[in-house]
Amino acid sequence: MLADILFLAFATAIILGAGTVVLARNPMVGVLGLVFTFLNAAGLFILLQAEFLGLLLIMVYVGAIAVMFLFVLMTIDIDFVKLREGMAAYLPLGAVVMLALLAELLLAAYAAPISGVGNPIGEGADTSAAALGALLFTDYNLPFQMAGLVLLTAMVGAIVLTHRRRSDVKRQNIAKQVLRKPEDSMTLTQPKVGGGVTASHWEPQTVEEK
């Protein structure tokens, strides 16, 4: 009873959130709509007794990935009008993707009819986290490792493509600073009374580049 109502609430919220993502004029609002969608999808997971997946969804997608989206949106200069221009041209492509996803969903639903609320990992598992871990590190060990490797490659690739060493930025070398001794930067002189210190006495010693 309560589960039904919660399901309705989460499902409605997901549709609203997803609608916001697509229709929002402002990309910022769009990302926040995406976050809202993620949160409600996590709610659906928890309703299906897959608490671990639900919380993971919030931690990974809401806590890290969507924050990155938000970051990028906040820091780049976007021309909202220009962004909307190509909308119509991409519409057929979007429709194709949507139809493909719909077909997949229908196929999946046809192959395994949705039968009420149950534990998708299997009844009798102590916690979903333990069951997931056991599956992930035994039956699905290879795909799991491969997925990790693919992600790592993408990460390294992104860094290699975008990283450049800038020469005009001052950088701090903390080890060098710590290892600096008084002798490297100052000399003590004993000036004669009335004589003062002339510049010839004093030669600043620069720290050698190692």
Binding site: M1, D4, I5, M28, V29, L32, V35, A42, E51, F52, L55, L56, I58, M59, V62, G63, A64, V67, M68, L70, F71, M74, T75, T127, A129, Q172, I174
Partner: protein, 347 residues
């Protein structure tokens, strides 16, 4: 559809359900009110301790020993004019403080303050806490963006980057404790520390955790998001009245939450230091509160002692030092647990 809804409605509104609902509301209040009061007196505690560190008295005029100062502050905030700047995104501007405040209170649903004294004793308490604490960054980013002003924007970007960076090492350290205890249930983690607090065998992790929670809650010496000298006040420059108050509340509640989390993970939660007779007579809540206050004192102490980090130093500490160290620690802990089993003594 309508029939279904009326059916639901008539079935929902029953005496039993009303009682359950009343009980839920009561438990929420039982948790939220002490946390809010605790937050109010954390500000008092901070001002007092900082005062003493500066050789002055701190608040003294409102109430005996300045004890009513937090209430005076709250009343003042309530009666200020709520000001929404021209050119800001109004809805988001007003929503942002709530987005900081609400997650900080939500976290308290799973925190056990004594044996069995917890609203929801869920199996994945640690995960829940991490998930909820990762939400508050949105409030700050929204505030900075919606204000449509330079300083808040810079403060928000800094804050977001900082919170996300330190969450990584924080998560890895928490994972190592979860491995030691063999459970993600916060009560079970506390119970696992009956023989010895995890702060002793996992001392390096404990130290890293303490530093990371300072960064995670945007506290000194990592309070770059609101570095007064350069950003005026960071993401909350444009806020006034209770809008500002809610950021303030959220930040201080997050401090208490993180202290409580540290107490549970490393300092044995509600357990006394050693299980001998005079110590076991003291109720668990008192031990828990003492530990939380001790960690809060550490946070205030850091504020009174240390100068602010520079931004690149902060990022260096997070990504180049804490992340590799916590990864190594996690692997070492995993090896230990594989060889000798979970560290559960006397439980």
């Amino acid at each position: 559809m309508l029939d279904l809804l009326t059916l639901y409605a008539t079935n929902l509104i029953t005496w039993d359900n009303t009682l359950t609902l009343a009980w839920i509301v009561l438990t929420c209040l039982l948790v939220a009110v002490p946390v809010l009061l605790g937050m109010a007196y954390t500000t008092w505690f901070e001002r007092k301790v900082l005062g003493w560190m500066h050789l002055r008295h701190g608040p003294m005029y409102v109430g005996w020993f300045g004890l009513l100062q937090p209430i005076a502050d709250a009343v003042k905030l309530f009666f200020k004019e709520p000001f929404v700047p021209e050119g800001s995104n109004k809805l988001m501007f007003m929503l942002a403080p709530a987005m900081v405040f609400v997650p900080s209170l939500l976290a308290w649903a799973v925190i056990p303050v004594d044996k069995g004294w917890v609203v929801a004793d869920v199996n994945l308490g640690v995960m829940y806490l991490l998930a909820v604490s990762s939400l508050s960054v949105y409030g700050i980013l929204m505030a900075g963006w919606a204000s449509n002003s330079k300083y808040p924007f810079l403060g928000a970007v800094r804050s977001g980057a900082q919170m996300v960076s330190y969450e990584v090492s924080l998560g890895l350290i928490i994972l190592s404790v979860v491995l030691l205890a063999g459970s993600m249930n916060l009560s079970a983690i506390v119970e696992a520390q009956q023989g010895m607090w995890f702060a002793i065998p996992a001392f390096p992790a404990f130290v890293m955790f303490l530093v990371s929670i300072l960064a995670e809650t945007n506290r000194h010496p990592f309070d770059l998001p609101e570095a007064e000298a350069e950003l005026v006040a960071g993401y909350n420059v444009e806020y006034s009245s209770m809008y500002f108050g809610m950021f303030f509340l959220g930040e201080y509640i997050a401090m208490i939450t993180m202290s409580a989390f540290t107490a549970i993970l490393f300092l044995g939660g509600w357990l006394p230091p050693v299980s001998v007779v005079p110590l076991t007579w003291v109720p668990g809540v008192v031990w828990f509160a003492l530990k939380v206050v001790a960690i809060l004192f550490f946070m205030v102490w850091a504020r009174g002692t240390l100068p602010r980090y520079r931004y690149d130093q902060l990022m260096r500490l997070g990504w180049k030092i804490f992340l590799p160290l916590s990864l190594v620690w996690l692997v070492a802990t995993a090896f230990y647990v594989k060889m000798y089993g979970n560290m559960v003594w006397g439980g």
